[in-house]
Structures are given as C-alpha cells and as structure tokens.
C-alpha cells in the first residue's frame, strides 16, 4: 500500500503500471498530456516497459494492437478528437479479440471543441465508437481512488474477455489532485496467466494468425455470434454502480463520473432541506446497470438524469425503466461544470412539480 497526492492522469498511469501494463503509446492532446508524460518518466526507470510517443493517434492505437498481439498488457490514452481517430483501431482490436486499455479524458465538442471537462463522448464510448457493431467495456471513475481501482480492473477485464476496455474520464478527473492509495504492483511475468494465442514465433507449434478479415459471410456471422455471446456474458457479470441515499428516496439523480460527483453534493444539500433524494451512479457505462436501475424504479418513481452533455445516457435510463418512472434530464454541454447549487435547484423544481416532497 502506498498513499500519494496525485492528479488524475498520473493516477491512471501509476495504476496501469501497477496492473502490469508494460506498453504505452500515445500522442499529445490536452487535457490528458500529464498521462503520456507520466508514462514516459515511469517506464524509463523500468527494464521491461516500452513508451513510444507516436506520430499520430492512429499509429498509437495500432502500436498498442501490435503490443497486445505480442502478449503484453498495453494502453493508449487521448482526449475526444484523438479518440475519434483511434476508432478504426479499436474496431480491429475488438474484431481480433485482443485485450487493450484505452483512456479517454473527454473535452468539450464537437470538432476541435475546447479543453474543458465534458461528457459528450458517452454515445461514442458505449456504442462501440467505430464500425462493425462491436462493444467495448466502459468504466467511468468519479474520484482519484476510483481511477486506481478501475484502471487496474480495466486490464483484468481486457484480458479476461479479450476485448478493448475504455476508461472514461474528463478534463476535471484528469487534472484534479486527490490523495489516493495504491495496492502493491503485480509482476506481470510472474503472476499473469500465459496467453496461448500470442504471436511469438511458430517454434514447435503451428503458425498462428490474428486477423479480422473473414471473407465467407457464414464464418463472419459465426464470429459475430461468438462476440455476441461474449457481450452477453459481460452484461451478466460486469455491471457496476453505486447507490447513495436511495433507501427512503422519492427521487433519484442518475449521473456518472464528474457529474455524479457534483450531483452527490446537490443531494447532500437538498437532504439538509429535508428532501428525500438519492443518487444512482452507473460505474460501468457499458454494460449499463439496466436491471439495477429497473429494480430501483419499482420504488422510486422519479429520476433526474444529469449529464455534462445534451442528453446521451438519459436514453439508456429510459430504456432501462420504461414507464415505471418519470425521467427528466438536465444537461450542460460544451465544457460547463455545473455547481451543486444548480443541480439542487433542478431537484427542488422536480420535487415540487411531482408534488412528492
């Protein structure tokens, strides 16, 4: 155990290293430059770790693809426009069933947008993002400590399911400094299970192929069904969420990441005024905690979805609860950070509107 005060991007880098990540390739983009900088410094002190500043986001994700083919735990990171550039590679990684961890420290958009914290890439992250109908596991931390646990978890999930895993933060998560506690690092060579599919030379065995080209539609359909089976298993086993003050609540705010952190402040504020309000925070955005939210809506009849975008996760919330609860939305796009005061105001309005205080 090791307690330190660090900014979020550094936390992700240290957590990745302790999880056995030994390959990082990236390209500079704000607001996540602290992460490649940290990796370059951290890996320079290690004999078995590779850092490459790639010539482009495309090169970076494809280098990660190659490193993953060679069997090592590999990561890249970027921010929104850069993640768009990586989508082709992520699709191939999903199609070839390779493990990889991709960090997106989101900023305001669309286009070049700005460098302020935003959650405008929810759709892109949770719908696969690239072509071909694949899925990626998406983990959304809301604190420095959770960046430790979820980054480390991301590598385990990527290996377990042989699939790309996204860690979805934003500019605020990446820049904010908080005290965090790290578990002891693992020694990947000694502790991780051997991978029996890697490309390491056909010595004493048949040659191996890792490819996503499957020309015969019958075989391509089978491959898709195989992926579908994997995605079903992920949905059944890997949903994560936090419930906060929901036991007696008449209204729940649903928010993830930084927005959830703000919402928690708002919930505390309105609780002091006697309003029975809680917070449901999806931690895995895909798989979305659909069953858990549906169960919640059998007792809590009013949901307020708060996102730092124009309304993206709200669609998953509506799919989850159907007609069982009212679903209202409050969003601030473009890199605006709402205050707990603002969200408390939205909560209070709804409590009066539904006359449920």
């Amino acid at each position: 155990m090791d307690r330190r005060l660090m900014c979020g991007s550094h936390v992700i880098g240290e957590a990745a290293t302790r999880a056995g990540c030994r390959f990082y390739a990236g390209y500079p983009i704000t607001p996540q430059n602290e992460l490649p900088e940290y990796m370059s410094k951290r890996f320079a002190k290690m004999d078995d770790a590779i850092f490459i500043q790639a010539e482009s986001e495309l090169a970076a994700i494809n280098m990660v693809m190659g490193a993953s083919m060679a069997g090592v735990r590999a990561m890249t990171s970027s921010s929104s426009p850069g993640i768009s550039l990586k989508q082709e590679g992520i699709s191939y990684i999903a199609g070839m069933e390779l493990p990889a961890v991709i960090v997106n420290i989101m900023r305001g958009g669309p286009g070049l947008g700005n460098i302020a914290p935003s959650q405008q890439d929810y759709f892109q992250a949770t719908r696969g993002g690239g072509h071909g109908g694949y899925r990626t596991i998406v983990l959304a931390p809301c604190s420095g400590q959770e960046m430790v646990t979820l980054t480390m978890k991301a590598f385990d999930l990527a290996d377990a399911y042989r699939t790309p895993v996204l860690v979805l933060g934003d500019g605020l998560m990446g820049q904010m400094m908080e005290p965090v506690t790290f578990p002891d690092p693992i020694d990947p060579a000694a502790t991780l299970p051997q991978k029996d599919w890697v490309l390491d030379g056909a010595g004493g065995r048949d040659s191996r192929l890792i490819a996503s080209l499957i020309l015969d539609p019958i075989d391509m359909e089978q491959h898709n069904w195989k992926l579908a089976g994997k995605y079903k298993a992920i949905c059944e086993s890997e949903t994560r969420h936090e419930s906060y003050l929901l036991d007696d609540a008449v209204l729940a705010v649903v928010a993830f990441g930084t927005a959830a952190r703000i919402a928690k402040g708002a919930v505390n504020r309105v609780r002091k005024a006697g309003l029975k309000v809680g917070l449901f925070r999806p931690i895995s955005l895909w798989p979305f905690p659909e069953k858990e939210l549906k169960a919640l809506s059998s007792t809590i009849k009013h949901l307020l979805v708060f996102e730092m975008n124009l309304g993206q996760m709200v669609e998953d919330v509506k799919i989850s609860v159907g007609e069982q609860a009212t679903v209202d939305f409050h969003g601030r796009p473009g890199g605006i950070i709402s205050t707990p005061h603002e969200i408390a105001g939205e909560i209070t309005k709804l409590i009066y509107r539904y006359d449920t205080g």
């Binding site: 030994r22 390959f23 390739a25 590779i50 490459i52 790639a54 010539e55 482009s56 495309l58 090169a59 970076a60 494809n62 280098m63 990660v64 693809m65 190659g66 490193a67 993953s68 083919m69 060679a70 069997g71 090592v72 590999a74 082709e88 590679g89 191939y92 070839m96 490309l199 390491d200 030379g201 056909a202 010595g203 004493g204 040659s207 191996r208 192929l209 890792i210 490819a211 996503s212 080209l213």
Partner: protein, 250 residues
C-alpha cells in the same frame, strides 16, 4: 538416386494461389520464405500483411501473422517488435498501403530507426480494388480513376517513397529491385535477406521496394507486363541500392 534440387521452402504453405496469372506477389512470397529458411528464423518470425491483394499472405507464408488496418502495418509491427525485440518482424505492403494511406507510419518508423524489415511491393495501382490510381502510378498511365492518363497537376506526381525514407535518420538499408527475370529475382532475394539481416543485427529500419507486375489491371499479358516494368517503370523508379548505412551504423 535422383538428387532433389528444388523444393517448397519450409516457411511456405502448400496452398493454391489466389493471385492472378502473371502477378509478382507469388514470387515475392516464395523469396521471403526462402530467406526465412536460410536464416533459420521461422520459429521467431512474425509477419504483418497489408490490406490489399496480399492481405492473404498468411495463407502462404508459414509464420505467425498479425493483420493490420490499411496503412498501419508498420505501426502494428512496431508494437510487436518493441514488445519482443528477440523476434524478427516484417511487414508486407503494397504501394497504396505504404505510400498513400500509411505514409506517415513509414516515415516515422524510419525516423525512429525501428528494427523492422519492410517489403514494399510497388505495382503502380490499387490491385485488389480493381486498378485505381496509386501514388506510384506513372505520369500518363491509364487507370480506372485516371481514364485519360495521370496528369501531374490534377492527380499528383509519382511518389518515390523509398527516396523519402532514405533521408530519414534511422533508415539503414533501402534497395529497389524487381522480379521480372531470373536475374532480378535473385537480386531481390539478396536484398530481402539483407533487410532481414539489418534487423537481426539491430541496426535500424530496412526496406526493399520491389517493382512488381500487375498484368490484369495493366491490361497487358504477363510477358508484356514484365517488359513494361523493365522499359517504363524503372525510368521513374530506378533499380539499385538507395541507401546503405550498414557500416556507419556499426
């Protein structure tokens, strides 16, 4: 007792070719397999094929293979090689793959001196997609997207990627060859072997550009296609060693 003087290399699978009649890819695949056999490196070689006609190179060359998105073979190979420096990693790329959509990857890998062996097959057209103009298409050459012939200020001049890569600080060995005749095939094999050896010696980036024939898309007979390479293509892309910094690297 008859003495066997010719056989399939161990690193070549026994498969029926999917390449068109007169295509150069089959020859080049065989040369790579022969080199792998002769260097005794089949058990530590990893290949990265391109998107294009040669995407199915893994149906023929019997080593571990990892497919790359179009143009990204060198980036994928970089990830493999950096992770496992003990492996011998080669890419196999067409002119569209390496000199158009993958130009940046090639230049920067050469700049970093990535210990990779790149086999660059230049036939001047996008073959698999039906013969569109490539960055390497000759001026005046007719393709399906340059119906009246390639015009420089509309379609661009032919791009000499090998010359560009020779300028890069980390490139060690670059040679341009062709496979139009037994003599040229033997030269090409020697160049491929050197490109592998440069990597195995840890010197830096090595590339062999092989001018190859595409009779189907050029709408020529196989014999006429070979003649076209020897008489026309070499005027824009002269054969020979473009860079050899092996001594300096040592």
């Amino acid at each position: 007792m008859a003495k066997q003087v010719f056989k399939r290399p161990e690193a070549l699978k026994e498969n029926t070719t999917h390449y068109c009649p007169g295509c150069g890819h089959g020859i080049i695949h065989r040369l790579i397999a022969e080199v792998i056999d002769e260097l005794g490196i089949r058990d530590k070689t990893v290949g990265v094929p391109p998107a294009g006609c040669a995407v199915l190179a893994y149906n023929y060359i019997d080593v571990d293979m990892g497919e790359a998105p179009h143009g990204r073979a060198i980036a994928v190979a970089t990830g493999i090689k950096r992770t496992r420096p003990d492996l011998v990693v080669f890419t196999y790329q067409g002119d569209g793959d390496i000199a158009a959509i993958g130009t940046a990857e090639a230049i920067h890998a050469a700049s970093r001196g990535e210990r990779l062996s790149v086999i660059f097959v230049n036939n001047g057209v996008y073959g698999m997609t039906g013969g569109q103009m490539a960055p390497t298409t000759l001026l005046g050459q007719t393709t399906t997207t340059t119906p009246g012939g390639r015009l420089p200020l509309r379609d661009g001049f032919p791009l000499d990627l090998s010359q560009m890569l020779a300028v890069a600080g980390g490139s060690v060995y670059i040679e341009r060859t062709t496979v139009t005749s037994p003599k040229n095939i033997i030269r090409t094999k020697k160049a491929i072997k050197k490109a592998f050896q440069v990597q195995m010696d840890g010197l830096g980036f090595a590339l062999v550009e092989i001018l190859s024939q595409c009779p189907i898309n050029w709408k020529l007979s196989p014999v006429a296609a070979c003649r076209w390479v020897e008489e026309e293509v070499v005027k824009s892309y002269p054969l020979g060693v473009i860079k050899d910094a092996r001594e300096k690297s040592n």
